[in-house]
Subunit: 465 residues, 4 copies
């Protein structure tokens, strides 16, 4: 008996869907053709059937809200269109259970292969129309059959977003260790191994149709004196320049920063300033990547976003949430207003900073106790909510109020957008994209986790963290 994936009851209409036991509505088959068939069913018939249960509640809510927004001057159709267009990459490592240094509670039906991971993203994308990309982590996700993998992804309408290198864990093939750093290492032979690994990641990405590389370094030190800051930064810069030059001409390099962990005294790329310095050192197609969790307590992240977009150097964005450190919690579960304020800057930048390319969006969360797919569905919902709220901000009114130095009014304008219940807009956007009005309710109603368990077994373990 499967105990864990109990259903939703937040919404009374959802409570009726609570499955007493597992009645497979759809047969999953991980052999490629039948999976595609399943997927098609999930997209069309099945989702229609699901949506039929919610559409009567949804329609009047949407129309009432749309009318009210139109009166305020909002172009609701534009908002819907933008919501439909937003696509957020799912990292391959987020589809299994994560853990902490104290251990990991494994989840049932975890994806045991790259095919499984892509299928999982396919499910999320079918339900939301917001997860049309996957971000692979090498060496965890090296495809065996590139064509089959590309075909599978294409069949699910999934693109290959930035590829990620891993130089924070030693690989069996290595005769040296990253214990004291990779691209920054005092030992040039270790740096060389790390550079070569990145080149291989680029190769893998090229074969899959990706066109960007994300470099996150765990490099740093645990103790004062362990590392020469200047030399470590210099080595990192040279290594990154080497990698940058080896990228195809249309690729972008995203350089992540993080103040601490896994090193607890210093990290080589501790903040956006360092990342930007390195990106500028590499060249035009090197950018800073902002991960929400990678900041010291109380950092004003939205201001960093604004500064980077003004410089045309915000390349990517990793979503998650946290209360204390890099907790990698569900997006929007702890500080939804901060998320909105960040989106407010992102929306402003996308309108006003033509020199900044469209950022690469990704969820970088860890799912320690929830069903990973449900967690990702909640994250996508939170991202879309904040985005929709930011789209509702009366930008013209705000600029006028700022000019008049009317702080009360500025706050009213932002809060008016934030306090609006935008969920009907999200539902409408999904409905228009043939996705699910209520993704989590449908996920539970369709017993998807139980299907995955049936297919994959209780005790598979996802590769990755």
């Amino acid at each position: 008996m499967v105990e864990w994936p109990t259903p939703l009851s937040a919404n009374p209409s959802l409570q009726q869907q609570r499955p007493v036991d597992v009645v497979p509505l759809i047969e999953f088959d991980i052999s490629l053709p039948s999976f595609k068939k399943m997927e098609m069913k999930l997209n069309a018939e099945i989702l229609n059937e699901q949506n039929s249960r919610f559409i009567e509640t949804h329609k009047p809510e949407y129309h009432f809200l749309a009318q009210s927004l139109e009166k305020k001057g909002v172009q609701v159709n534009d908002v819907i269109k933008k919501l439909q267009e937003l696509q957020v990459a799912i990292p391959s490592w987020a589809l299994g259970a994560g853990g902490t240094r104290f251990g990991r509670f494994s989840y049932q039906g975890e994806p045991a292969s790259l095919e499984n991971k892509i299928s999982d993203v396919g499910i999320i994308h079918a339900l939301t129309n917001t997860a049309g990309a996957i971000s692979l982590h090498i060496p965890w996700d090296i495809p065996k059959d590139y064509n089959a993998i590309k075909e599978l992804a294409a069949s699910l309408d999934i693109k290959f977003d930035a590829v990620n290198s891993n130089t924070f864990q030693d690989q069996p093939s290595m005769n040296k260790s990253y214990r004291f750093g990779s691209l920054c290492n005092t030992d040039s032979s270790v740096r060389e191994i790390a550079i070569q690994h990145n080149l291989e990641v680029i190769d893998t990405g090229k074969k899959l149709g990706s066109n960007s590389l994300t470099v996150w370094l765990a490099d740093g030190s645990n103790f004062p004196g362990q590392q020469n800051f200047q030399e470590a930064l210099q080595n990192t810069k040279e290594s990154l320049k080497h990698i940058y030059k080896s990228m195809p001409d249309d690729w972008k390099l995203f350089i992540e920063y993080k103040p601490y962990e896994p090193n607890f005294y210093s990290t080589v790329i501790q903040d956006w300033g360092t990342s930007l310095m390195l990106a500028e050192g590499c060249g035009q197609r090197a950018y800073t990547l902002v991960d929400l969790g990678h900041h010291l307590p109380n950092t004003n992240i939205e201001q960093i976003v604004a500064t980077l977009m003004m410089k045309g150097k915000l390349g990517g964005f990793h979503f998650n949430d946290s209360k204390y450190g890099d907790d990698d919690l569900t997006v929007g579960s702890v500080k939804p207003y901060a998320l909105f304020l960040i989106w407010n800057e992102l929306v402003y930048g996308m309108e006003n900073n033509p020199n900044n390319p469209s950022p690469a969006w990704m969820i970088d969360a860890s799912h320690n106790i929830k069903d990973p797919l449900e967690d990702l569905l909640q994250s996508l919902e939170a991202i879309q909510i904040a985005y929709a709220q930011a789209l509702l901000v009366d930008q013209k009114g705000l600029q006028e109020a700022q000019k008049q130095q009317d702080a009360t009014l500025c706050q009213e304008i932002l809060q008016d957008a934030y306090r609006t219940d935008v969920r009907p807009l999200l539902r409408e956007a999904r409905l228009c994209s043939s996705a699910a009005i209520e993704p989590i309710a449908s996920y539970r109603s369709l017993n998807i986790r139980n299907q995955l368990i049936k297919e994959r077994g209780l005790h598979t373990v996802a590769s990755g963290l």
Copy 2:
């Protein structure tokens, strides 16, 4: 020409109210009888006229929301009633401009007397029906004519909430200094002065009909070694016991805690644990008071609230908001979700902890750049929004989901309440109480700040911080 108080434009209907110049609708007169008359007009005719502009938009929004909530099982009338009943005290020192150690930008038309301050609270209360109390700070607010003051307050439906002592600033009459502490001082004669001051504050409170004393101590140290922790705590305990015993039998003592500032190495009552220890040492009617801003970075305040209510020891609550320290910003302006989570615990505790008395609510904010009255109106709105959202939480569903260890569902339930746009409920509650549907819009439309400037002048300075 008065430049500063520009009007609202967030809501298109409000933008039309933008006053081009100051046309006094109502004549303010600080002599008591006429002020009361003005106030009556503000309550009835004037507010009706104001509300007439918003009622057409409000009514359908309210009915649509109420219907939707009723379907989910919410007793909307109960929610409205609870919103009407919530009364939050305004501290007398919050009616003028605050500042920082770097200076203070004074505000125009600040209240120059206790009468002015009560009038200001009267305006806020008339507009919101949520500010039916004032919290005085002695010695800044010692009444000259108790009866007149009580009559004025009663005429505006304002009660006298907890009185506050001040032992963090030396008074001209003192021949000793609080530089090295008050109730904790190593010099017993300084402790005695501080105790006597508290007894005088109690006396003032008794004459006004207050029935509680809030003690916030700035006592602490700036440097390691400066203070003997144990002795300071012991002295504080003895001093508080003395004060506690001197209170009338129906009074409560609220003991505030704060980790730092104005002392920057240690404060004698650094956290809730210390405050609770002292409260238990004093007796049954001594309680801990929680001020939102008085916590270290990332503190889980809602959990502290839950623990204190379980112990029956949460006596009072000071609202404000902050991003870094004890910033005393407008309530809900930075972390509205945290405010909601706290209200969720408060609502739970008020339902489930009969041993905990109804907490004393107060706003403890500083208004450095906004019109203090507008800032307080925004704070009250934020408090009511979070309270309303917390009242919408499906407590039964939540408990069931917690029991089933369904973390996804728990989050859905909380967020479903939080994401609801509850503003129509607040408007309805105010409308039913003959207050303003849109308090800030009406405040601006009525040119109230300009009236106050006319009465009081541009350069009055409020007593207090």
Copy 3:
């Protein structure tokens, strides 16, 4: 070829000891009798030989310092005696390499068995005379042959300190999971499993001669709403009371607190106030245990120590250091002055709070990149330095300066003690105890890590974290 354990060069005299290759001075044999023999050699002959290299430098340094301190009124012999008496327990899990959620770089020659772990502590103790106890973690360290283990420990002069339960990782035998908590779980059958586990830990401890139990709970939640704070605290209290009552009459219960991690939204015992509440709820022999790393940013830990000692409720102390969170770094490697200030309160409390029992001392660190034994040697040195400095504080002068409110002088007094180079006192204390004048230099000179690798192999993995 063994590359990693390179030798010391900080001290020129040490640089000469740099071993070019591994020449085994002593033969290690893990069979009990020969190991004891080796140990005896380490204590007497070998250490004498080692010390002979340092004694000429040490003696004048010690005498010069002692003379200077005696002039200031310090009883140097008393200080030496106290340093000799201080014994800090080594936790069994700290003898292997630790890691982070991102991975773990294993160390060579890690202890693969409980016997190995005790031997490792024996080495540290022989070198320092400060590590005369081991703290076991169950189920990682359940002895197979109790008598043999006790005999081994006794032969190395090692006592069994507090035993530690583990309810944060599921055990193979469990048919339920701690995923949603152990002693706090909403499911009484999970609580029962966790309670029973604690009782078994007590049993193990009894057989070994331990007389205290340390309970650290990972219980908490990752998301708002996931857990009912009051119920979780109530369940924890009841569970702890059950455990408390099951302890032998001469046992103590130590209740640890921690604000976050592995849970990232809340932990049931988030701070000392909660721990104290639970300890008081259990009874007289239940105490709060302070772990340096378990605090929010900027917490004044020394003040917590003072408060707990005043209440007679400081039961134990876990040493480590950190810059950001619970980083578990080498003691004194990041904030040595904070460590001194804490020791200043500990020394004061041990003198002035007879109602507080002598606290149980333990190092709770993780050794991610250093040789664990070297890391522990550095930690013990830092603990002893801070303790020695605290013993030098002119307590009488300090109290007088505090009374006179002379903040400048208070600081001078503390800093005078802190700025003293007390290392000659530590060396003398070790010399008088037949331990090593320079523990790390001797550890390297004796090639001990290489010996362990020879015995145990390169790739053993310590049980535990």
Copy 4:
């Protein structure tokens, strides 16, 4: 009777100097010629007499230490020379009592004029030979008679360090307000006022012989939405460029950063990355200035120092200390090891980064409860101690250990330097410079504060914060 400035007792030899009552050894006279005479006496006869009391203890301590350091390869004479050369500017505003937003406890004998302030610095410099510069804040310190002021300063061997502008407080002459920012203001006429003020500050500095301008901006916002981040940054950049171009060709511009306060949501120049961006935008002679207190919790400041020096862009350094925020406490009173680590990077950078100019050193502290002069003496001592310790670091050994990835040894090397009691080196450096062996003891023994009170009165108030 003067109660407050009680004497030192930390050192038994000092305790004998405790003055029972005020016996003026020297007559202070603020008329210029006699003051100079007094000063000469302080430098020569009087200080000799003071030093005669300490020299017998000092000499053997110094020689013992020097001998021991020479054995380790330290060139002690070089260290002494470097200590003698280090000159730290005293800001004019630090000579009176500071305060918090809750109030200010004034100090007796505060300097009431610029002449008084320079005299105070003269006293500190005579005692320490480390305070040979003053940093003025305009408009608080505009000289009336430039020649007289320059003459006074020269007579005391005091230079004019960077001049500081103040655009965070409105001046009586202004018809606009900095309430919503200065160099960033949306209103170009406010920006113009702020720019003009800076040009006037440069003029004042030129007349005094200063050759650098420090710009610290309080600009920022208290509420989300209040300010357009990009526009504010753009305006600030343009304003700074204007100021930069108006500086003489040999001047430097120092741009300070700070994450919060007095604004509590955002500050325009929130971090070093933003400051560097602005400095690079201005030109070659624009630099970043690091103030220790201006960082978020847990920031690795030493790494920032290293990065800026590598870039050749560390222009100045403000010393102070803090536990929570920008507490402006006595240097070294809370985190002396962090100060040492920073000095370690400064020393490394001064050796290895010829492109970085010699940084401008200043103490930026606030003296809320101590005698400001004593506080500054303690700060200078702490700066020199950390500098001396950093000079003792075995740089070659450290680099070798880093190269060998020997984290244990790296830590040993740093801690060996840090744990050394370097005070004899400071005393020797002062003795060789005809300053005081024990500055605070002599300050008290000479009853200097009482002399100042006699001259200036009890209730003077220093201009400035």
